[in-house]
Symmetry: C3
Subunit: 214 residues, 3 copies
Protein backbone atom coordinates (compact mmCIF):
# COMPACT_ATOMS: atom_id res chain seq x y z
CA UNK A 1 0.00 0.00 0.00
CA UNK A 2 2.76 2.42 0.99
CA UNK A 3 4.67 1.31 -2.12
CA UNK A 4 1.81 2.32 -4.40
CA UNK A 5 1.55 5.69 -2.67
CA UNK A 6 5.27 6.37 -3.14
CA UNK A 7 5.13 5.29 -6.80
CA UNK A 8 2.24 7.70 -7.40
CA UNK A 9 4.15 10.57 -5.76
CA UNK A 10 7.34 9.65 -7.63
CA UNK A 11 5.60 9.66 -11.01
CA UNK A 12 3.70 12.84 -10.13
CA UNK A 13 7.02 14.53 -9.32
CA UNK A 14 8.53 13.25 -12.57
CA UNK A 15 5.50 14.40 -14.55
CA UNK A 16 5.46 17.89 -13.08
CA UNK A 17 9.21 18.37 -13.37
CA UNK A 18 8.98 17.25 -17.02
CA UNK A 19 6.13 19.72 -17.65
CA UNK A 20 8.23 22.50 -16.10
CA UNK A 21 11.07 21.67 -18.50
CA UNK A 22 8.82 21.43 -21.56
CA UNK A 23 7.08 24.66 -20.61
CA UNK A 24 10.34 26.61 -20.32
CA UNK A 25 11.51 25.10 -23.63
CA UNK A 26 8.52 26.55 -25.44
CA UNK A 27 9.12 29.77 -27.31
CA UNK A 28 12.84 28.98 -27.68
CA UNK A 29 12.55 27.61 -31.23
CA UNK A 30 12.90 24.05 -29.91
CA UNK A 31 11.17 21.13 -31.64
CA UNK A 32 9.06 18.38 -30.01
CA UNK A 33 11.94 15.97 -29.55
CA UNK A 34 14.11 18.75 -28.12
CA UNK A 35 11.28 19.54 -25.69
CA UNK A 36 11.18 15.86 -24.69
CA UNK A 37 14.93 15.93 -24.01
CA UNK A 38 14.58 19.09 -21.89
CA UNK A 39 11.66 17.54 -19.99
CA UNK A 40 13.69 14.40 -19.40
CA UNK A 41 16.77 16.33 -18.26
CA UNK A 42 14.63 18.29 -15.78
CA UNK A 43 12.92 15.18 -14.42
CA UNK A 44 15.89 12.80 -14.15
CA UNK A 45 18.90 15.16 -14.09
CA UNK A 46 19.02 15.53 -10.31
CA UNK A 47 18.67 11.82 -9.54
CA UNK A 48 21.19 10.91 -12.23
CA UNK A 49 23.78 13.34 -10.81
CA UNK A 50 23.18 11.85 -7.34
CA UNK A 51 23.58 8.28 -8.61
CA UNK A 52 26.79 9.10 -10.51
CA UNK A 53 28.24 10.71 -7.34
CA UNK A 54 27.11 7.73 -5.24
CA UNK A 55 28.55 5.39 -7.89
CA UNK A 56 25.33 3.38 -8.32
CA UNK A 57 23.42 2.58 -11.52
CA UNK A 58 21.30 5.61 -12.53
CA UNK A 59 17.76 4.87 -11.36
CA UNK A 60 16.09 5.37 -14.76
CA UNK A 61 18.13 2.55 -16.33
CA UNK A 62 16.37 0.07 -14.05
CA UNK A 63 12.81 1.14 -14.83
CA UNK A 64 11.31 2.57 -18.01
CA UNK A 65 8.55 4.47 -16.25
CA UNK A 66 10.46 7.74 -16.00
CA UNK A 67 10.95 7.94 -19.77
CA UNK A 68 7.31 6.95 -20.32
CA UNK A 69 6.02 9.53 -17.83
CA UNK A 70 8.03 12.23 -19.58
CA UNK A 71 6.49 11.09 -22.87
CA UNK A 72 3.03 11.42 -21.35
CA UNK A 73 3.98 14.89 -20.11
CA UNK A 74 5.00 15.91 -23.64
CA UNK A 75 1.78 14.48 -25.09
CA UNK A 76 -0.30 16.26 -22.48
CA UNK A 77 1.48 19.52 -23.23
CA UNK A 78 0.92 19.19 -26.96
CA UNK A 79 -2.77 18.31 -26.52
CA UNK A 80 -3.71 20.72 -23.74
CA UNK A 81 -1.02 23.38 -24.05
CA UNK A 82 -3.14 26.42 -23.27
CA UNK A 83 -4.69 24.74 -20.26
CA UNK A 84 -1.44 23.35 -18.86
CA UNK A 85 0.55 26.53 -19.36
CA UNK A 86 -2.17 28.49 -17.54
CA UNK A 87 -2.22 26.11 -14.58
CA UNK A 88 0.38 28.35 -12.93
CA UNK A 89 -0.50 27.97 -9.27
CA UNK A 90 -1.60 24.34 -9.41
CA UNK A 91 1.56 23.41 -11.31
CA UNK A 92 3.60 25.27 -8.75
CA UNK A 93 2.06 23.27 -5.91
CA UNK A 94 2.76 19.97 -7.68
CA UNK A 95 6.28 21.16 -8.38
CA UNK A 96 6.78 21.86 -4.68
CA UNK A 97 5.44 18.36 -3.90
CA UNK A 98 7.86 16.90 -6.46
CA UNK A 99 10.69 18.85 -4.85
CA UNK A 100 9.80 17.50 -1.39
CA UNK A 101 9.59 13.92 -2.62
CA UNK A 102 12.79 14.02 -4.68
CA UNK A 103 14.67 15.48 -1.72
CA UNK A 104 13.56 12.60 0.52
CA UNK A 105 14.41 10.00 -2.14
CA UNK A 106 17.90 11.54 -2.38
CA UNK A 107 18.42 11.43 1.38
CA UNK A 108 17.17 7.82 1.67
CA UNK A 109 19.43 6.57 -1.12
CA UNK A 110 22.42 8.31 0.49
CA UNK A 111 21.62 6.85 3.91
CA UNK A 112 21.59 3.38 2.33
CA UNK A 113 25.07 4.16 0.99
CA UNK A 114 26.02 4.93 4.64
CA UNK A 115 27.16 8.46 3.99
CA UNK A 116 27.50 11.03 6.79
CA UNK A 117 24.35 13.05 7.48
CA UNK A 118 25.54 16.28 5.88
CA UNK A 119 26.41 14.48 2.63
CA UNK A 120 22.88 12.99 2.68
CA UNK A 121 21.43 16.50 2.99
CA UNK A 122 23.57 17.69 0.07
CA UNK A 123 22.43 14.67 -1.98
CA UNK A 124 18.80 15.49 -1.17
CA UNK A 125 19.30 19.03 -2.42
CA UNK A 126 21.11 17.76 -5.54
CA UNK A 127 18.27 15.30 -6.29
CA UNK A 128 15.67 18.03 -5.91
CA UNK A 129 17.33 20.89 -7.72
CA UNK A 130 20.00 19.83 -10.22
CA UNK A 131 17.38 18.83 -12.84
CA UNK A 132 16.12 22.41 -12.99
CA UNK A 133 19.70 23.63 -13.12
CA UNK A 134 20.55 21.42 -16.13
CA UNK A 135 17.31 22.55 -17.80
CA UNK A 136 18.33 26.20 -17.48
CA UNK A 137 21.91 25.60 -18.66
CA UNK A 138 20.57 23.79 -21.76
CA UNK A 139 18.13 26.64 -22.41
CA UNK A 140 21.03 29.08 -22.06
CA UNK A 141 19.67 30.96 -19.02
CA UNK A 142 21.30 31.76 -15.68
CA UNK A 143 19.70 29.02 -13.51
CA UNK A 144 16.53 30.22 -11.73
CA UNK A 145 17.84 28.24 -8.77
CA UNK A 146 20.63 30.75 -8.33
CA UNK A 147 18.57 33.81 -8.94
CA UNK A 148 15.30 33.45 -7.16
CA UNK A 149 13.36 32.54 -4.11
CA UNK A 150 14.02 29.79 -1.67
CA UNK A 151 14.57 26.63 -3.69
CA UNK A 152 17.67 24.57 -2.90
CA UNK A 153 17.47 26.08 0.58
CA UNK A 154 14.03 24.45 1.04
CA UNK A 155 15.68 21.08 0.30
CA UNK A 156 18.44 21.77 2.82
CA UNK A 157 15.92 22.81 5.48
CA UNK A 158 13.93 19.61 4.88
CA UNK A 159 17.15 17.63 5.12
CA UNK A 160 18.05 19.17 8.47
CA UNK A 161 14.56 18.39 9.79
CA UNK A 162 14.96 14.81 8.52
CA UNK A 163 17.99 14.23 10.74
CA UNK A 164 16.41 16.04 13.69
CA UNK A 165 13.47 13.60 13.42
CA UNK A 166 15.88 10.64 13.31
CA UNK A 167 17.61 11.99 16.45
CA UNK A 168 14.22 12.11 18.16
CA UNK A 169 13.72 8.43 17.25
CA UNK A 170 10.79 9.09 14.93
CA UNK A 171 9.94 6.14 12.65
CA UNK A 172 11.23 6.26 9.07
CA UNK A 173 7.75 6.93 7.66
CA UNK A 174 7.06 9.83 10.02
CA UNK A 175 10.54 11.22 9.45
CA UNK A 176 10.17 11.11 5.67
CA UNK A 177 6.67 12.59 5.76
CA UNK A 178 7.68 15.41 8.12
CA UNK A 179 10.77 16.31 6.11
CA UNK A 180 8.87 16.28 2.80
CA UNK A 181 6.17 18.52 4.28
CA UNK A 182 8.83 20.94 5.54
CA UNK A 183 10.36 21.20 2.05
CA UNK A 184 6.92 21.86 0.53
CA UNK A 185 5.93 24.32 3.25
CA UNK A 186 9.16 26.33 3.08
CA UNK A 187 8.83 26.52 -0.69
CA UNK A 188 5.15 27.50 -0.67
CA UNK A 189 5.47 30.04 2.14
CA UNK A 190 8.54 31.64 0.55
CA UNK A 191 6.71 31.94 -2.77
CA UNK A 192 3.43 33.16 -1.25
CA UNK A 193 5.03 35.90 0.84
CA UNK A 194 7.80 36.72 -1.62
CA UNK A 195 10.55 35.82 0.84
CA UNK A 196 13.96 36.09 -0.79
CA UNK A 197 17.52 35.94 0.40
CA UNK A 198 19.44 39.17 -0.20
CA UNK A 199 21.05 39.51 -3.61
CA UNK A 200 24.83 39.76 -3.84
CA UNK A 201 25.73 43.08 -5.42
CA UNK A 202 28.93 43.92 -7.20
CA UNK A 203 31.09 46.97 -7.54
CA UNK A 204 31.45 46.50 -11.28
CA UNK A 205 31.16 43.78 -13.91
CA UNK A 206 33.81 41.26 -12.85
CA UNK A 207 33.91 39.58 -16.29
CA UNK A 208 35.50 42.69 -17.74
CA UNK A 209 38.25 42.62 -15.13
CA UNK A 210 41.65 41.20 -16.02
CA UNK A 211 42.95 40.04 -12.67
CA UNK A 212 40.52 37.38 -11.48
CA UNK A 213 40.64 33.65 -11.87
CA UNK A 214 39.86 32.27 -15.25
CA UNK B 1 40.65 -6.63 -41.42
CA UNK B 2 37.32 -5.62 -39.92
CA UNK B 3 39.20 -4.19 -36.96
CA UNK B 4 41.18 -1.84 -39.19
CA UNK B 5 37.98 -0.75 -40.94
CA UNK B 6 36.31 0.08 -37.62
CA UNK B 7 39.39 1.95 -36.40
CA UNK B 8 39.39 4.05 -39.55
CA UNK B 9 35.68 4.88 -39.14
CA UNK B 10 36.17 5.61 -35.44
CA UNK B 11 39.03 8.02 -36.06
CA UNK B 12 37.17 9.61 -38.98
CA UNK B 13 34.19 10.21 -36.70
CA UNK B 14 36.47 11.66 -34.02
CA UNK B 15 38.23 13.87 -36.55
CA UNK B 16 35.03 15.25 -38.06
CA UNK B 17 33.35 15.82 -34.70
CA UNK B 18 36.51 17.64 -33.54
CA UNK B 19 36.46 19.79 -36.69
CA UNK B 20 32.81 20.65 -36.06
CA UNK B 21 33.70 21.81 -32.55
CA UNK B 22 36.73 23.82 -33.64
CA UNK B 23 34.73 25.38 -36.46
CA UNK B 24 31.93 26.54 -34.18
CA UNK B 25 34.55 27.85 -31.72
CA UNK B 26 35.99 30.15 -34.36
CA UNK B 27 34.81 33.74 -34.25
CA UNK B 28 34.05 33.47 -30.53
CA UNK B 29 37.31 35.05 -29.36
CA UNK B 30 38.65 31.64 -28.36
CA UNK B 31 42.35 30.84 -28.55
CA UNK B 32 43.99 27.77 -30.11
CA UNK B 33 44.09 25.77 -26.92
CA UNK B 34 40.46 26.68 -26.18
CA UNK B 35 39.58 25.48 -29.67
CA UNK B 36 41.38 22.19 -28.95
CA UNK B 37 39.36 21.76 -25.75
CA UNK B 38 36.09 22.47 -27.61
CA UNK B 39 37.09 20.00 -30.35
CA UNK B 40 37.91 17.40 -27.72
CA UNK B 41 34.66 17.94 -25.82
CA UNK B 42 32.71 17.52 -29.06
CA UNK B 43 34.57 14.37 -30.08
CA UNK B 44 34.72 12.53 -26.74
CA UNK B 45 31.91 14.13 -24.72
CA UNK B 46 29.22 11.69 -25.79
CA UNK B 47 31.26 8.56 -25.22
CA UNK B 48 32.54 9.87 -21.88
CA UNK B 49 28.98 10.55 -20.65
CA UNK B 50 28.00 7.03 -21.73
CA UNK B 51 30.97 5.45 -19.94
CA UNK B 52 30.31 7.40 -16.72
CA UNK B 53 26.65 6.27 -16.78
CA UNK B 54 27.73 2.67 -17.51
CA UNK B 55 30.34 2.95 -14.75
CA UNK B 56 33.26 1.84 -16.95
CA UNK B 57 36.60 3.57 -17.53
CA UNK B 58 36.14 6.39 -20.08
CA UNK B 59 37.33 5.01 -23.43
CA UNK B 60 39.84 7.78 -24.12
CA UNK B 61 41.85 6.95 -20.99
CA UNK B 62 42.73 3.59 -22.50
CA UNK B 63 44.00 4.87 -25.83
CA UNK B 64 45.72 8.13 -26.71
CA UNK B 65 44.52 8.17 -30.31
CA UNK B 66 41.43 10.30 -29.62
CA UNK B 67 43.50 13.13 -28.16
CA UNK B 68 45.99 12.82 -31.02
CA UNK B 69 43.27 12.83 -33.68
CA UNK B 70 41.79 15.98 -32.16
CA UNK B 71 45.25 17.54 -32.27
CA UNK B 72 45.52 16.65 -35.96
CA UNK B 73 42.06 18.20 -36.49
CA UNK B 74 43.24 21.44 -34.88
CA UNK B 75 46.41 21.47 -36.96
CA UNK B 76 44.44 20.82 -40.14
CA UNK B 77 42.06 23.65 -39.27
CA UNK B 78 44.90 26.08 -38.63
CA UNK B 79 46.69 25.13 -41.86
CA UNK B 80 43.73 24.82 -44.22
CA UNK B 81 41.08 26.90 -42.49
CA UNK B 82 39.51 28.46 -45.56
CA UNK B 83 39.30 25.13 -47.33
CA UNK B 84 37.97 23.18 -44.36
CA UNK B 85 35.39 25.76 -43.36
CA UNK B 86 34.07 25.82 -46.93
CA UNK B 87 33.79 22.02 -47.11
CA UNK B 88 30.19 22.42 -45.87
CA UNK B 89 28.48 19.51 -47.59
CA UNK B 90 31.38 17.08 -47.48
CA UNK B 91 31.91 17.81 -43.78
CA UNK B 92 28.23 17.28 -43.21
CA UNK B 93 28.37 13.83 -44.82
CA UNK B 94 31.36 12.82 -42.69
CA UNK B 95 29.59 14.16 -39.64
CA UNK B 96 26.57 11.99 -40.44
CA UNK B 97 28.91 8.99 -40.83
CA UNK B 98 30.48 9.80 -37.46
CA UNK B 99 27.03 10.03 -35.92
CA UNK B 100 26.08 6.62 -37.30
CA UNK B 101 29.27 5.01 -36.08
CA UNK B 102 29.21 6.58 -32.61
CA UNK B 103 25.59 5.46 -32.17
CA UNK B 104 26.49 1.85 -32.96
CA UNK B 105 29.53 1.95 -30.65
CA UNK B 106 27.25 3.22 -27.87
CA UNK B 107 24.71 0.43 -28.43
CA UNK B 108 27.39 -2.29 -28.57
CA UNK B 109 29.05 -1.16 -25.33
CA UNK B 110 25.65 -1.06 -23.58
CA UNK B 111 24.77 -4.55 -24.85
CA UNK B 112 28.05 -5.83 -23.39
CA UNK B 113 26.94 -4.31 -20.07
CA UNK B 114 23.74 -6.38 -20.45
CA UNK B 115 21.37 -3.44 -20.30
CA UNK B 116 17.77 -3.65 -21.56
CA UNK B 117 17.31 -2.79 -25.25
CA UNK B 118 15.73 0.63 -24.67
CA UNK B 119 18.62 1.71 -22.41
CA UNK B 120 21.02 0.62 -25.19
CA UNK B 121 19.13 2.83 -27.66
CA UNK B 122 19.34 5.76 -25.23
CA UNK B 123 23.08 5.14 -24.79
CA UNK B 124 23.52 5.09 -28.57
CA UNK B 125 21.80 8.47 -28.82
CA UNK B 126 23.88 9.83 -25.92
CA UNK B 127 27.12 8.64 -27.55
CA UNK B 128 26.16 10.26 -30.84
CA UNK B 129 24.78 13.56 -29.68
CA UNK B 130 25.96 14.63 -26.22
CA UNK B 131 29.34 15.78 -27.57
CA UNK B 132 27.62 18.40 -29.73
CA UNK B 133 25.44 19.38 -26.81
CA UNK B 134 28.45 19.99 -24.51
CA UNK B 135 30.12 21.95 -27.32
CA UNK B 136 27.11 24.27 -27.60
CA UNK B 137 26.78 24.71 -23.82
CA UNK B 138 30.48 25.68 -23.61
CA UNK B 139 30.05 28.11 -26.50
CA UNK B 140 27.02 29.58 -24.70
CA UNK B 141 24.44 28.70 -27.37
CA UNK B 142 21.12 26.87 -27.08
CA UNK B 143 22.17 23.40 -28.33
CA UNK B 144 21.56 22.94 -32.06
CA UNK B 145 20.44 19.43 -31.15
CA UNK B 146 17.35 20.87 -29.47
CA UNK B 147 16.59 23.43 -32.09
CA UNK B 148 17.03 21.89 -35.45
CA UNK B 149 16.51 19.04 -37.81
CA UNK B 150 16.50 15.38 -37.11
CA UNK B 151 19.60 14.64 -35.06
CA UNK B 152 19.18 12.66 -31.86
CA UNK B 153 16.06 11.20 -33.47
CA UNK B 154 18.24 9.72 -36.24
CA UNK B 155 20.25 7.92 -33.52
CA UNK B 156 17.05 6.61 -31.93
CA UNK B 157 15.73 5.39 -35.30
CA UNK B 158 19.01 3.59 -35.96
CA UNK B 159 18.82 2.07 -32.50
CA UNK B 160 15.31 0.73 -33.11
CA UNK B 161 16.44 -0.78 -36.42
CA UNK B 162 19.41 -2.35 -34.61
CA UNK B 163 17.12 -4.33 -32.32
CA UNK B 164 14.73 -5.21 -35.14
CA UNK B 165 17.70 -6.73 -37.00
CA UNK B 166 18.72 -8.69 -33.88
CA UNK B 167 15.12 -10.00 -33.60
CA UNK B 168 15.37 -11.16 -37.23
CA UNK B 169 18.56 -13.07 -36.33
CA UNK B 170 20.82 -10.95 -38.52
CA UNK B 171 24.52 -11.38 -37.76
CA UNK B 172 26.20 -8.73 -35.60
CA UNK B 173 28.11 -7.26 -38.57
CA UNK B 174 25.00 -6.95 -40.75
CA UNK B 175 23.00 -5.53 -37.83
CA UNK B 176 25.62 -2.91 -37.08
CA UNK B 177 26.03 -1.96 -40.72
CA UNK B 178 22.28 -1.67 -41.32
CA UNK B 179 21.69 0.41 -38.21
CA UNK B 180 24.59 2.75 -38.98
CA UNK B 181 23.31 3.22 -42.53
CA UNK B 182 19.83 4.02 -41.20
CA UNK B 183 21.25 6.72 -38.90
CA UNK B 184 23.21 8.24 -41.77
CA UNK B 185 20.28 7.99 -44.21
CA UNK B 186 17.75 9.54 -41.82
CA UNK B 187 20.15 12.38 -41.11
CA UNK B 188 21.04 13.03 -44.75
CA UNK B 189 17.45 12.77 -46.04
CA UNK B 190 16.14 15.05 -43.26
CA UNK B 191 18.81 17.64 -44.07
CA UNK B 192 18.41 17.36 -47.86
CA UNK B 193 14.64 17.79 -47.83
CA UNK B 194 14.49 20.15 -44.84
CA UNK B 195 12.40 17.76 -42.78
CA UNK B 196 11.85 19.14 -39.28
CA UNK B 197 9.72 18.18 -36.35
CA UNK B 198 7.21 20.87 -35.40
CA UNK B 199 8.49 23.57 -33.07
CA UNK B 200 6.91 23.94 -29.65
CA UNK B 201 5.38 27.39 -29.40
CA UNK B 202 4.65 29.29 -26.24
CA UNK B 203 1.97 31.67 -25.09
CA UNK B 204 4.51 34.01 -23.56
CA UNK B 205 8.07 34.03 -22.25
CA UNK B 206 7.95 31.53 -19.38
CA UNK B 207 11.18 32.82 -17.81
CA UNK B 208 9.43 36.06 -16.91
CA UNK B 209 6.67 34.14 -15.10
CA UNK B 210 6.78 33.81 -11.34
CA UNK B 211 4.86 30.58 -10.76
CA UNK B 212 6.88 27.89 -12.50
CA UNK B 213 9.49 25.59 -11.12
CA UNK B 214 12.87 27.02 -10.46
CA UNK C 1 54.42 18.57 9.41
CA UNK C 2 54.23 18.21 5.64
CA UNK C 3 50.61 17.13 6.08
CA UNK C 4 49.71 20.39 7.82
CA UNK C 5 51.45 22.37 5.09
CA UNK C 6 49.48 20.57 2.37
CA UNK C 7 46.21 21.04 4.27
CA UNK C 8 46.87 24.76 4.53
CA UNK C 9 47.61 25.01 0.81
CA UNK C 10 44.58 22.87 -0.04
CA UNK C 11 42.23 25.03 2.00
CA UNK C 12 43.83 28.21 0.67
CA UNK C 13 43.20 26.97 -2.88
CA UNK C 14 39.61 26.10 -2.00
CA UNK C 15 39.08 29.47 -0.34
CA UNK C 16 40.47 31.49 -3.23
CA UNK C 17 38.64 29.47 -5.89
CA UNK C 18 35.41 29.93 -3.91
CA UNK C 19 36.04 33.70 -3.70
CA UNK C 20 36.59 33.80 -7.46
CA UNK C 21 33.22 32.11 -8.01
CA UNK C 22 31.37 34.33 -5.54
CA UNK C 23 32.97 37.41 -7.01
CA UNK C 24 31.92 36.59 -10.56
CA UNK C 25 28.42 35.75 -9.29
CA UNK C 26 28.00 39.26 -7.90
CA UNK C 27 26.08 41.67 -10.10
CA UNK C 28 24.20 38.81 -11.77
CA UNK C 29 21.09 39.11 -9.61
CA UNK C 30 22.13 36.00 -7.65
CA UNK C 31 21.23 35.62 -3.97
CA UNK C 32 23.55 34.61 -1.12
CA UNK C 33 22.78 30.92 -1.32
CA UNK C 34 23.19 31.00 -5.10
CA UNK C 35 26.57 32.66 -4.56
CA UNK C 36 27.51 29.87 -2.14
CA UNK C 37 26.58 27.26 -4.77
CA UNK C 38 28.67 29.05 -7.41
CA UNK C 39 31.60 29.30 -4.99
CA UNK C 40 31.27 25.61 -4.19
CA UNK C 41 31.05 24.60 -7.85
CA UNK C 42 34.21 26.62 -8.58
CA UNK C 43 36.13 25.17 -5.65
CA UNK C 44 35.14 21.49 -5.91
CA UNK C 45 33.94 21.15 -9.54
CA UNK C 46 37.34 20.19 -10.95
CA UNK C 47 38.17 17.60 -8.29
CA UNK C 48 34.66 16.13 -8.48
CA UNK C 49 34.91 15.70 -12.26
CA UNK C 50 38.29 14.01 -11.81
CA UNK C 51 36.95 11.66 -9.13
CA UNK C 52 33.90 10.71 -11.22
CA UNK C 53 36.18 9.93 -14.19
CA UNK C 54 38.55 7.96 -11.94
CA UNK C 55 35.53 6.19 -10.41
CA UNK C 56 36.46 7.01 -6.81
CA UNK C 57 34.34 8.67 -4.12
CA UNK C 58 34.30 12.45 -4.66
CA UNK C 59 36.84 13.89 -2.21
CA UNK C 60 34.44 16.35 -0.56
CA UNK C 61 32.15 13.54 0.63
CA UNK C 62 34.93 12.27 2.87
CA UNK C 63 35.69 15.56 4.58
CA UNK C 64 33.43 18.51 5.41
CA UNK C 65 36.20 21.09 5.33
CA UNK C 66 35.65 22.05 1.68
CA UNK C 67 32.01 22.99 2.30
CA UNK C 68 33.02 24.86 5.47
CA UNK C 69 35.84 26.74 3.75
CA UNK C 70 33.43 27.84 1.01
CA UNK C 71 31.06 29.06 3.74
CA UNK C 72 33.89 31.07 5.29
CA UNK C 73 34.66 32.49 1.83
CA UNK C 74 31.02 33.59 1.45
CA UNK C 75 31.02 35.13 4.92
CA UNK C 76 34.28 36.95 4.24
CA UNK C 77 32.88 38.28 0.98
CA UNK C 78 29.70 39.54 2.65
CA UNK C 79 31.63 41.19 5.48
CA UNK C 80 34.55 42.64 3.55
CA UNK C 81 33.20 42.85 0.01
CA UNK C 82 34.81 46.09 -1.02
CA UNK C 83 38.18 45.03 0.30
CA UNK C 84 38.10 41.53 -1.16
CA UNK C 85 36.83 42.59 -4.57
CA UNK C 86 39.62 45.18 -4.77
CA UNK C 87 42.33 42.66 -3.86
CA UNK C 88 42.75 42.02 -7.59
CA UNK C 89 46.44 41.22 -7.78
CA UNK C 90 46.75 39.47 -4.44
CA UNK C 91 43.70 37.35 -5.22
CA UNK C 92 45.21 36.53 -8.58
CA UNK C 93 48.41 35.28 -6.95
CA UNK C 94 46.47 33.06 -4.54
CA UNK C 95 44.39 31.81 -7.43
CA UNK C 96 47.56 30.84 -9.29
CA UNK C 97 48.81 29.05 -6.15
CA UNK C 98 45.47 27.23 -5.93
CA UNK C 99 45.78 26.25 -9.56
CA UNK C 100 49.27 24.85 -9.01
CA UNK C 101 48.21 22.89 -5.96
CA UNK C 102 45.01 21.50 -7.48
CA UNK C 103 46.95 20.39 -10.56
CA UNK C 104 49.43 18.43 -8.44
CA UNK C 105 46.63 16.86 -6.36
CA UNK C 106 44.98 15.73 -9.62
CA UNK C 107 48.19 14.18 -10.93
CA UNK C 108 48.95 12.39 -7.63
CA UNK C 109 45.45 10.88 -7.39
CA UNK C 110 45.69 9.66 -11.00
CA UNK C 111 49.13 8.14 -10.40
CA UNK C 112 47.67 6.21 -7.45
CA UNK C 113 45.02 4.89 -9.86
CA UNK C 114 47.95 3.72 -12.03
CA UNK C 115 46.93 5.65 -15.11
CA UNK C 116 49.36 6.36 -17.96
CA UNK C 117 51.33 9.60 -17.60
CA UNK C 118 49.40 11.57 -20.23
CA UNK C 119 46.06 10.72 -18.56
CA UNK C 120 47.55 11.97 -15.27
CA UNK C 121 48.46 15.27 -16.94
CA UNK C 122 44.92 15.58 -18.32
CA UNK C 123 43.50 14.85 -14.86
CA UNK C 124 45.77 17.52 -13.37
CA UNK C 125 44.44 20.06 -15.87
CA UNK C 126 40.84 18.93 -15.20
CA UNK C 127 41.32 19.29 -11.44
CA UNK C 128 42.75 22.77 -11.86
CA UNK C 129 40.45 24.24 -14.45
CA UNK C 130 37.05 22.50 -14.68
CA UNK C 131 35.76 24.31 -11.58
CA UNK C 132 36.16 27.66 -13.30
CA UNK C 133 34.56 26.23 -16.42
CA UNK C 134 31.45 25.04 -14.52
CA UNK C 135 31.29 28.44 -12.78
CA UNK C 136 31.19 30.23 -16.15
CA UNK C 137 28.63 27.83 -17.65
CA UNK C 138 26.34 28.39 -14.64
CA UNK C 139 26.78 32.15 -14.95
CA UNK C 140 25.92 31.87 -18.64
CA UNK C 141 29.26 33.13 -19.97
CA UNK C 142 31.64 31.63 -22.52
CA UNK C 143 34.26 30.10 -20.17
CA UNK C 144 37.19 32.45 -19.52
CA UNK C 145 39.35 29.34 -19.75
CA UNK C 146 38.60 29.14 -23.47
CA UNK C 147 38.92 32.81 -24.18
CA UNK C 148 41.89 34.12 -22.36
CA UNK C 149 45.45 33.82 -21.31
CA UNK C 150 47.39 30.76 -20.43
CA UNK C 151 45.29 28.79 -17.96
CA UNK C 152 44.71 25.12 -18.68
CA UNK C 153 47.98 25.24 -20.59
CA UNK C 154 49.80 26.21 -17.37
CA UNK C 155 48.42 23.01 -15.80
CA UNK C 156 49.57 20.93 -18.76
CA UNK C 157 53.06 22.50 -18.64
CA UNK C 158 53.29 21.75 -14.91
CA UNK C 159 52.16 18.19 -15.62
CA UNK C 160 54.87 17.67 -18.23
CA UNK C 161 57.49 19.00 -15.81
CA UNK C 162 56.14 16.62 -13.15
CA UNK C 163 56.90 13.58 -15.28
CA UNK C 164 60.25 14.97 -16.40
CA UNK C 165 61.19 15.26 -12.71
CA UNK C 166 60.07 11.66 -12.09
CA UNK C 167 62.22 10.52 -15.04
CA UNK C 168 65.17 12.29 -13.45
CA UNK C 169 64.50 10.32 -10.22
CA UNK C 170 63.63 13.39 -8.18
CA UNK C 171 61.88 12.59 -4.91
CA UNK C 172 58.09 12.91 -4.78
CA UNK C 173 58.25 16.08 -2.66
CA UNK C 174 60.71 17.84 -4.95
CA UNK C 175 58.78 16.71 -8.02
CA UNK C 176 55.50 18.03 -6.65
CA UNK C 177 57.03 21.30 -5.51
CA UNK C 178 58.78 21.90 -8.83
CA UNK C 179 55.70 21.14 -10.88
CA UNK C 180 53.45 23.34 -8.72
CA UNK C 181 55.95 26.20 -9.02
CA UNK C 182 56.02 25.79 -12.81
CA UNK C 183 52.20 26.04 -12.98
CA UNK C 184 52.24 29.18 -10.84
CA UNK C 185 55.16 30.70 -12.74
CA UNK C 186 53.69 30.07 -16.19
CA UNK C 187 50.38 31.56 -15.07
CA UNK C 188 51.94 34.63 -13.42
CA UNK C 189 54.39 35.34 -16.23
CA UNK C 190 51.68 34.94 -18.90
CA UNK C 191 49.41 37.35 -17.03
CA UNK C 192 52.17 39.85 -16.24
CA UNK C 193 53.44 40.10 -19.80
CA UNK C 194 50.05 39.62 -21.47
CA UNK C 195 51.16 36.47 -23.26
CA UNK C 196 48.26 34.93 -25.17
CA UNK C 197 47.88 32.15 -27.66
CA UNK C 198 46.57 33.35 -31.03
CA UNK C 199 42.79 33.56 -31.35
CA UNK C 200 41.01 31.35 -33.86
CA UNK C 201 39.22 33.56 -36.35
CA UNK C 202 36.28 32.60 -38.49
CA UNK C 203 35.10 33.44 -41.98
CA UNK C 204 31.54 34.00 -40.79
CA UNK C 205 29.23 33.07 -37.93
CA UNK C 206 29.11 29.27 -38.10
CA UNK C 207 25.92 29.06 -36.00
CA UNK C 208 23.94 30.64 -38.82
CA UNK C 209 25.20 28.02 -41.26
CA UNK C 210 23.01 25.05 -42.14
CA UNK C 211 25.56 22.41 -43.08
CA UNK C 212 27.59 21.80 -39.97
CA UNK C 213 27.14 19.23 -37.25
CA UNK C 214 24.32 19.83 -34.85
Amino acid sequence: MEGIFITILDLTGTFVFAISGIRLASGKNIDWFGAYIIGLATAIGGGTTRDVLLDVTPFWMLDGKYFLTTGVALLATLLFKNKIFRLGNTLFLFDAIGLGLFTIVGISKSLEAQLPFWVCIVMGAITGSVGGLIRDVLLNEVPLLLRRDIYALACVTGGVVYFMCLQLNFSTSITELTAALVVILVRVVAMKFHIHLPVLNSLKNPYSDKTDKS
